[in-house]
């Protein structure tokens, strides 16, 4: 009986093979040349201000070059949650998929299935295994991002004492890359600074809030916290600003100016770093366009223009770099609005 159901679905599917062609050409966003390009952004999870900004940058780019923009994503940043959206993109024959991956390997099969169906895949912010994507747009080198945070925290605590890391999710490629570099940097250049704990807030505000409280409770001598995630640092700052450790524990990491403004003003946080996520999304969208309309193929040495940002060259491993990280503090934070 179940076979009958499947059979009926199958029959209707086969019988509608001609429907594909007609609906394909009449619908918007098919991958055939000279029609509108459809670019879909798939961040790690929705409801994250960092991705709101980056995806808005992507939207601006897509509108500039006249494509159709869409943003989809799961509620929580678990590896398998993104697969369904990748599948849907493959079904809809999206021209370009721009993804920030929750895990380097888990979504590979789905991505390759999409590429087989004709979609170009660009990763940004958090990469996958190089074999599953056409291009990776990185905000800066991993070493650079790690170094700026290590420098900030060691300077802030006087280069001696206990520090901890409040990360996002345990599998995120970018998080693990940065944490590795931070550990190496500390071991090589800061012998008196000890990393005592790494906790995961899963880019969830409540979890990060509670984890910060737990960190301070279990490590009473903690002097510094690095949080390389914009959700984590905002939650940690909020907890710190009402606790008696404010000013005694040095909090830094990657944060957006808007969410950190009040904490810099009230002294909870002295400085932190980031880049412009809007530019990152903008660049990624143009990269996807360049791939989808055939301007580049993603190999090293390819050049393409990214609207107002100028010309970019593809580096080794099909990686494109946006620039260098930027340090925000009390003097310059008012100049930014994102």
């Amino acid at each position: 009986m179940a076979a009958a159901i499947i059979g009926s679905l199958g029959l209707s599917a086969c019988g509608n093979a001609t429907d594909d062609a007609t609906s394909g050409s009449s619908g918007s966003g098919s991958a055939s040349a000279a029609t509108k390009l459809s670019i879909t952004f798939l961040p790690k999870n929705l409801g994250n201000p960092y991705f709101d900004t980056s995806d808005a940058g992507g939207k601006k780019a897509v509108e500039e070059f006249g494509g159709t923009y869409a943003e989809v994503g799961p509620q929580t940043g678990s590896p398998d949650a993104q697969v369904q959206y990748i599948n849907t993109a493959a079904q809809q024959r999206t021209s370009g998929l721009v993804v920030s991956a929750n895990d380097p390997k888990a979504i590979c099969d789905a991505l390759n299935e999409a590429r087989k169906a004709g979609t170009k895949v660009v990763t940004f912010d958090s990469d996958t295994d190089p074999t599953c994507r056409d291009l990776f747009v990185n905000q800066a080198t991993s070493e650079g991002i790690a170094k700026v945070q290590t420098d900030l925290v060691t300077k802030g605590i006087g280069d001696a004492g206990e520090v901890a890391i409040l990360s996002a999710s345990a599998n995120a490629t970018n998080q693990n890359a940065w944490i590795d570099m931070i550990k190496k940097d500390l071991a090589a250049n800061h012998p008196n600074v000890k990393l005592v704990d790494v906790v995961y807030g899963n880019d969830d505000d409540q979890t990060s809030f509670d984890k910060t409280a737990a960190l301070l409770q279990s490590h009473p001598n903690l002097k510094g916290i690095i949080s390389p995630t914009t959700v984590g640092i905002a939650a940690a700052a909020r907890y710190l600003s009402t606790s008696d450790k404010k000013g005694k524990v040095y909090l830094t990491g990657l944060g957006t100016p808007n969410s950190m403004k009040e904490f810099v003003k009230d002294g909870t946080v002295k400085d932190f770093a980031l880049w412009n996520p809007g530019d990152l999304g903008y660049l990624a969208a143009f990269a996807a366009k360049a791939l989808a309309d055939g301007t580049i193929t993603g190999k090293e040495g390819d050049k393409f223009t990214a609207g107002t940002l100028g010309e970019y060259t593809v580096g080794a491993d099909s990686v494109v770099l946006l620039g260098d990280p930027f340090v925000f503090n009390a003097e310059n934070i008012d100049q930014f609005n994102f």
Binding site: L46, Q206, F209, A213, Q217, P220, T242
Partner: protein, 355 residues
């Protein structure tokens, strides 16, 4: 039939079980207290705190820790009290997590869209919204002849879907809320956090009502034997609806408290907390089959669960194992309840045969 006859069987059937009204009031009260499940949970709780404090004195003895120890369970206490009332009637309310999410988001939205509303008004609206959602549950269970498990399973989906559709990926941020409201999250009065005091007052009122008022005690009767309650003439439907309205209202209050405590609300706030509430209630001595247990036990169960979560990393167990521990606690509680009730039934039968 004389009291002296039963004394020979004292070791098999304690006096307080058979002839409680014959004991002097003070002694009866003391015996009940000492044999109570609530006391044993309190002892376990104190033990956990003691072990953690020995390892790291700042677990208890820093101003923040004391505050956090009482503040963090406040939300779960509110949910556990409501859930206990429902479970006592031999039902269950799985939708409380979604109700919490909905009212938490509603609270934030009210502050953003109507900044002139006083805090008291927003709190009231939140509670009433929760009560309304609970009323839906109550009506469906009372009139629908369908087990509460299924109804609240459905409303869990529906309410969560409403929040997700309403909020989308939008979040309420702490910066959107009024200062004084957020301050409630950390303010203390006489050394006790305000939010904890709220939970405690609710607990006391509900606990007193269940113990002394007729409508409260009837809930126990309904849970013990619903058919007998109907035959006896109790207004079962009305009590059931009231129980669900209470559970919903407390979940609504918990949503407001959540917003005050965390300041940030996303559309998946409160996801999964309903099972924690049921766990707290079961661990706290309320039989899943209804008819027994107190809200005090449920509240203690809630505090115990949250405190264990905090204490584990200090003792060196990564808090990943917390949920497994909770599972063991629930199973032990149920098995213990079963063993005790079987033994008690046997004792009662024996003494009846001997009398």
């Amino acid at each position: 039939m004389t009291p002296t006859d039963t004394t020979t069987h004292e070791e098999a059937a304690p006096e307080v079980l058979l002839h409680p009204s014959r004991m002097p009031r003070g002694r009866r009260w003391l015996t009940t207290l000492l044999r109570s499940r609530e006391l044993s949970i309190l002892l376990v709780l104190l033990l956990v705190i003691a072990v953690a404090t020995i390892k790291t004195p700042s677990f208890l003895f820093s101003s923040n820790s004391w505050r956090d120890l009482l503040l963090t369970p406040s939300i779960l206490i509110l949910l556990a009290v409501g859930q206990a009332v429902v479970i006592i009637t031999r039902n269950v309310d799985l939708s409380v997590g979604s109700v919490l999410g909905l009212t938490a988001y509603l609270t934030g939205r009210l502050f953003i869209d109507h900044p002139s509303l006083p805090i008291v008004a927003v709190v009231l609206i939140g509670v009433l919204a929760g009560a309304a959602l609970g009323l839906v549950n109550g009506l469906l269970v009372g009139f629908g002849r369908v087990p509460a498990l299924v109804i609240t399973l459905g409303t869990l989906y529906i309410y969560r879907g409403i929040v997700l559709t309403w909020a989308g990926s939008d979040r309420i941020n702490a910066s959107d809320l009024p200062r004084d409201f957020l301050a409630l999250g950390t303010k203390q009065v006489l050394g006790f956090p305000v939010l904890f005091l709220v939970a405690f007052v609710v607990l006391a009122v509900v606990g007193y009502h269940l113990h002394t008022a007729r409508s409260g005690r009837e809930l126990y009767a309904i849970g013990s034997d619903p058919d007998a309650a109907v035959l006896y003439g109790l207004r079962v439907r009305r009590r059931l609806i009231a129980a669900f309205v209470l559970s919903g209202a407390l979940a609504g209050l918990a949503g407001v408290v959540y917003t005050a405590r965390y300041g940030t609300v996303s559309s998946d706030a409160g996801s999964g907390i309903e099972l924690q509430a049921v766990a707290a209630v079961v661990v706290g001595g309320v039989a899943i089959f209804g008819g027994s247990g107190t809200v005090w036990g449920a509240a203690l169960g809630a505090v115990l669960l949250v405190t264990i979560n905090r204490a584990l990393p200090i003792v060196g167990i990564p808090d990943f194992w917390q949920q497994a521990l909770v599972g063991v606690l629930i199973l032990s509680a149920i098995v213990l309840d079963r063993v005790l009730s079987v033994r008690r039934a046997r004792q009662l039968i024996e003494s009846r045969d001997d009398a």
